[in-house]
């Protein structure tokens, strides 16, 4: 058992060390969350139906899109695109589910999605054989297994019966599999992916980019994966003008621009008209279905509901909404319409409570709606948003998004005139976030000192309910970022107030739109830029440091990634310089290649629905890919593993250069030998506490211990916090040196989403003592699990050692034991905690109010926890639909048992 003189005791001690350092040790008693409310009967039934429904993908839309596309070779590209979208929309078979008050969805299942091979078809081509094989074999499995809700939740984790599993998530009827492959084939050499790939190869240094991607220094390409999203929708035009009103605007535009310079405006306007004709047909097909259901219905109340739905849809297929219910239905239709035009994550409805407030207040004043009805509608809205699925490229859906779609709804913030924007409807939105827990729309409080206490306490109540939302976001810090970033495009203070979170945590600019109701102007906020998080996606900072230490080589694979940096690394400054060199090299080539991809995207697959919605596309006659939006400084550079990087730098500085405890060579060896531990891959677990020493662990015991003992971020320790600040100041500044496709400076974005799992998986041990294959620190200013030993306020001090308004965001995830915030006093204490962080200039903090032991139970027995929600890194997701790496990491996070 023991080898090379190691005793079992040593082994156990070492194991305990790991546990102590690596995250959370559960206490004794499993404690549930405090607040439990139930949704209305209608929403409850709908949610039950949702729980029973599997992610289902279908070919209707892509078939018609492709069929039309093929017929229109030679057409002006944006018109070809518009006609294809129209063909897709008008052929979608309508499906209306029992009890729905809000109709319509992406396609013809409850949790519907479909592939968009015009973005990328490579996956299907590569999987052709596999899919045929599975189609053959799936039928042999017993069909009854499909009803089992379990690991994977609504995901179709394997092929069974007449259903093929795609990427372990989406179910496709076997009848549609051959046509899916045929349609995919037609996009070969024509998809955004293929065309972009052809030309990105012309960027000097392209081979280095390939190596960067293979080594997972960068997680994924930007241009064809999720070209839209991470932005805030703007619902103003349909709410104000209705579809026919917008068509009229476009027809006037056509008459104004036809034959004049900047002729592309002509095609844009014509394209919008064409697309809207498709959307109209789609709505009217649903209206027809509602009338059909009414004709079948015996039960009077239900019959009336179907009839009312049909009338509503018929009305808003042409006209602006008449009331709150109309407005909510209209908002939902256009939200889905945007989602149907592209692979999108993070399409945020934004400050919906403020957008809809004028409609709602007027209904209240007219006695047309009461609190109960409002709650019911808002709960229905939650279900609808939760039904959204995103069929993006595979690695993206799993590895980055964890299946989440990030439809962030913000409450709070300020009005155009600088007064608090929090309103009664937003209180009800928070209320239904509690009564009807679902992942979507996730909620964010735009925290401003001007917000009423009552409103903030409602937010606390909701956070305490444990679904992971609302996140708390600093309104003033974000406004400062927005003003800085968009000032050169004309952003002023007043308009900065219209900002909101787009997607997970991306600060996105907004505009105030003059909603005219009965002659009275209400200034409503709405998104005013395209996707604010495209460009250079997720760069693994610890992996870059690894290549610095090994002079450009990925030691996991032995492949050279960068040319030798030429430093002997004899000083800490050389390490830091080497890091900056490699990081800059990576950003340089990734920025260029992603620009090429985005150019392919805007040419092949330009946005029509979202462009139509965003000011000032209709005014300018330009789509989002032609800078039609009011603000266009929207390309960012995303980091992953900030804290792991900084802790590693601190350890190197301390142990090698300051105290000279070890040589760099010793560290190289320790890293290659994983400090004498088995790798996470070997142990089969990514849990930080589950790592196992190998037999020769004692050889590295001291260096590992001293690495773990080196100063760690999150403890208000100036030694490491100074390193953190130096990194942030440099990163946020250097990002501006890179230019987007639209010739705008890029900016830093610091959220990990789920990438710290897979990126950690391919990264060797790090000098901070983290072991090979385990996840990185989450978020961007979260402490590494278990290393923040001085309580939340010390963590806050560390996290705010730099100015967060330099960056699009920062991300702090905290796990709090339910007992700590229990009761009214707990709530006040909780609010004070958040206030303290905000006042220090923290940008964002979010919480899991959960007992880690419950998560452990849920991991062991997923069937019983189908509805358990947790917060990951900017999003809430069903526990059972998370990958194991991320589950392990959430369990391991430091759990605060006092504040």
């Amino acid at each position: 058992m023991s080898k090379a003189g190691q005793s079992t005791d040593d082994f156990m001690e070492c194991q305990n060390e790991a546990i102590n350092y690596y995250g959370n040790k559960p206490g004794d008693k499993v404690e549930d969350r405090e607040k439990k409310q139930q949704p209305t009967q209608r929403a409850g039934k709908a949610r039950d139906l949702y729980f029973s429904a599997k992610s289902s993908t279908s070919m209707e839309f892509p078939y018609w899109y492709t069929r039309c596309w093929d017929e229109l070779d030679g057409e002006i590209p944006i018109i070809r695109r518009a006609e294809s979208l129209k063909a897709g929309f008008e052929h979608l078979t309508p499906v209306i589910y029992p009890g729905e008050l809000l109709a319509m969805g992406k396609a013809s299942y409850l949790r519907s999605s479909y592939p968009m091979p015009w973005l990328s078809e490579a996956f299907f081509m590569a999987s052709e054989d596999k899919l045929y094989k599975e189609a053959l074999e799936s039928g042999k499995l017993t069909a009854d297994t499909f009803t089992t809700v379990g690991k994977g939740g609504g995901n179709v984790t394997k092929s069974v019966g007449k259903v093929i599993s795609i990427a372990g998530k989406f179910g496709l009827r076997v009848e549609e599999m051959p046509v899916m492959l045929e349609v995919a084939k037609r996009w070969k050499n024509r998809s955004v992916d293929d065309v972009g790939h052809k030309y990105e190869q012309m960027v000097p240094g392209y081979k280095e980019k390939e190596a960067i991607m293979r080594s997972v220094i960068c997680m994924f390409d930007s241009g064809y994966t999720l070209p839209q999203g991470r932005e805030v929708v703007n619902y103003y035009y349909p709410l104000q003008y209705g579809i026919d009103g917008i068509i009229r605007m476009c027809e006037e535009g056509i008459a104004e621009v036809a034959g004049y310079p900047e002729m592309d405006r002509l095609y844009f306007y014509k394209g919008v008209v064409t697309m809207l004709q498709g959307v109209k047909s789609w709505i009217l097909n649903y209206a027809e279905e509602a009338r059909f259901l009414a004709s079948l219905e015996k039960e009077e109340k239900q019959k009336a509901e179907y009839t009312e739905m049909a009338e509503r849809l018929e009305h808003i297929s042409a006209n602006p909404p008449r009331d709150f219910h109309d407005a909510l239905q209209m908002l939902w239709i256009f939200h889905v319409a945007v989602l149907n035009e592209d692979a999108i994550s993070g399409l945020s409805p934004g400050r919906v409570g403020q957008v809809l407030y004028p409609f709602w207040k007027r209904d209240v004043d007219r006695g047309l709606i009461d609190r109960a009805k409002t709650i019911e509608l808002l709960e229905c809205m939650r279900i609808k948003f939760t039904e959204i699925d995103c069929f993006a490229s595979m690695g993206v859906v799993g590895g980055v998004l964890s299946g989440n779609t990030f439809n962030n709804l913000c409450v709070g913030g300020l009005n155009k005139d600088g007064t608090s924007a929090a309103n009664e409807l937003e209180m009800l939105i928070l209320e239904t976030g509690i009564s009807c827990e679902t992942p979507q729309p996730t909620l964010s409080v735009l925290y401003d000192e001007k917000a009423p206490e009552e409103f903030l306490l409602k937010g606390i109540e909701c956070t305490k309910a444990g679904a992971g939302y609302p996140a708390w976001v600093n309104n003033q810090v974000a406004m400062e970022f927005i003003l800085n970033n968009y000032g050169h495009e004309g952003m002023m203070m007043e308009e900065a107030r219209a900002w909101a979170i787009g997607g997970c945590l991306e600060s996105s600019p907004g505009s105030w739109m003059p909603l005219n109701l009965d002659g009275m102007i209400h200034w409503i906020p709405g998104g005013s830029a395209p996707a604010t998080s495209v460009g250079v996606h997720f760069i693994s900072l610890p992996k870059i440091l690894e290549t610095v230490i090994f002079d450009g080589v990925d030691m996991r694979t032995g492949e050279r990634i960068f040319p030798s940096h030429g430093y002997k690394l004899e000083t800490y400054e050389e390490v830091w310089q080497g890091f900056r060199d490699y990081f800059s090299r990576a950003v340089h080539v990734l920025a260029l290649t992603n620009n090429v991809q985005h150019d392919a995207w805007r040419k092949i697959s330009p946005s029509l629905v979202n462009s139509m919605l965003k000011p000032d596309c209709l005014e300018k006659g330009r789509d989002l890919g032609q800078m039609g939006a009011r603000y266009n400084t929207t390309f960012n550079i995303e980091s992953c593993g900030n804290t792991t990087l900084v802790n590693s730098l601190a350890s190197l500085k301390k142990n090698i250069y300051d105290e000279k405890n070890y040589s760099l060579e010793a560290y190289r060896k320790a890293i290659l030998d994983n400090f004498g531990y088995h790798t996470a891959q070997e142990t089969g677990s990514y849990s930080l506490v589950d790592q196992k020493p190998a037999e020769h662990f004692s050889e590295y015991r001291k260096i590992h211990r001293q690495s773990l003992d080196a100063p760690k971020f999150g403890n208000d320790d100036p030694y490491v916090d100074a390193i953190f600040k130096e990194w942030e100041d440099w990163f946020c500044e250097m990002a501006h040196n890179y230019r987007s496709l639209y010739d705008q400076p890029m900016y830093a974005c610091q959220i990990s989403v789920s990438t710290h799992g897979p990126m950690g998986a391919v990264t060797l041990a790090t000098p901070d003592g983290r072991l090979s294959g385990t996840t990185f620190s989450d978020g961007s200013v979260s402490a590494y699990p278990g290393t923040d030993k001085h309580g939340p306020y010390a963590l806050f001090s560390s996290a705010t050692c730099w100015n967060h308004s330099q960056s699009q965001n920062s991300q702090l995830n905290m796990k709090i034991h339910p007992s700590v915030v229990r009761g009214r006093e707990g709530s006040r204490k909780f609010l004070e905690l958040i206030r303290a962080y905000m006042r220090k200039g923290g940008f964002h903090v979010q919480f899991n109010i959960v007992d880690s032991r419950m998560l452990k139970q849920a991991q062991a027995d997923p069937d019983k926890f189908r509805s358990l929600l947790v917060r990951v890194a900017g999003f809430t997701q069903y526990w059972v639909e998370l990958g194991k790496q991320i589950q392990d990491e959430v369990i391991a996070r430091t759990e605060y048992e006092e504040l």
Binding site: A53, E60, H91, P98, F146, T147, K162, G171, R173, V179
Partner: protein
């Protein structure tokens, strides 16, 4: 023999199961037609569709099509004559 997913009263919930719009019962797409069932317009019921291989065929001789696509909104759909 037609199955429920060929029926105009079939409401699919997901790829595995659906609801009967008439009975409101949970049903499977593979269940056989009941006496109230009526065919929904699908390519395989269209006179302009010609089958080529399993789950693939042509629409109007030239255009890729597949038998199980619902064609209720297709402008060119024409019921095959019953036989």
């Amino acid at each position: 023999m037609n199955t429920c997913n060929d029926c105009k009263f079939y409401l699919p919930v997901d790829v595995f199961k659906g609801i009967c719009k008439l009975s409101k019962n949970d049903i499977l797409p593979e269940d056989n037609f009941c006496e109230k069932a009526e065919r929904i317009a699908k390519c395989k019921f269209c006179s302009k569709y010609t089958a080529e291989k399993e789950f693939l065929g042509k629409c109007m001789s030239t255009t890729l099509a597949y038998p199980d696509m619902i064609a209720a909104k297709c402008a060119d759909f024409e019921w095959i004559s019953l036989n």
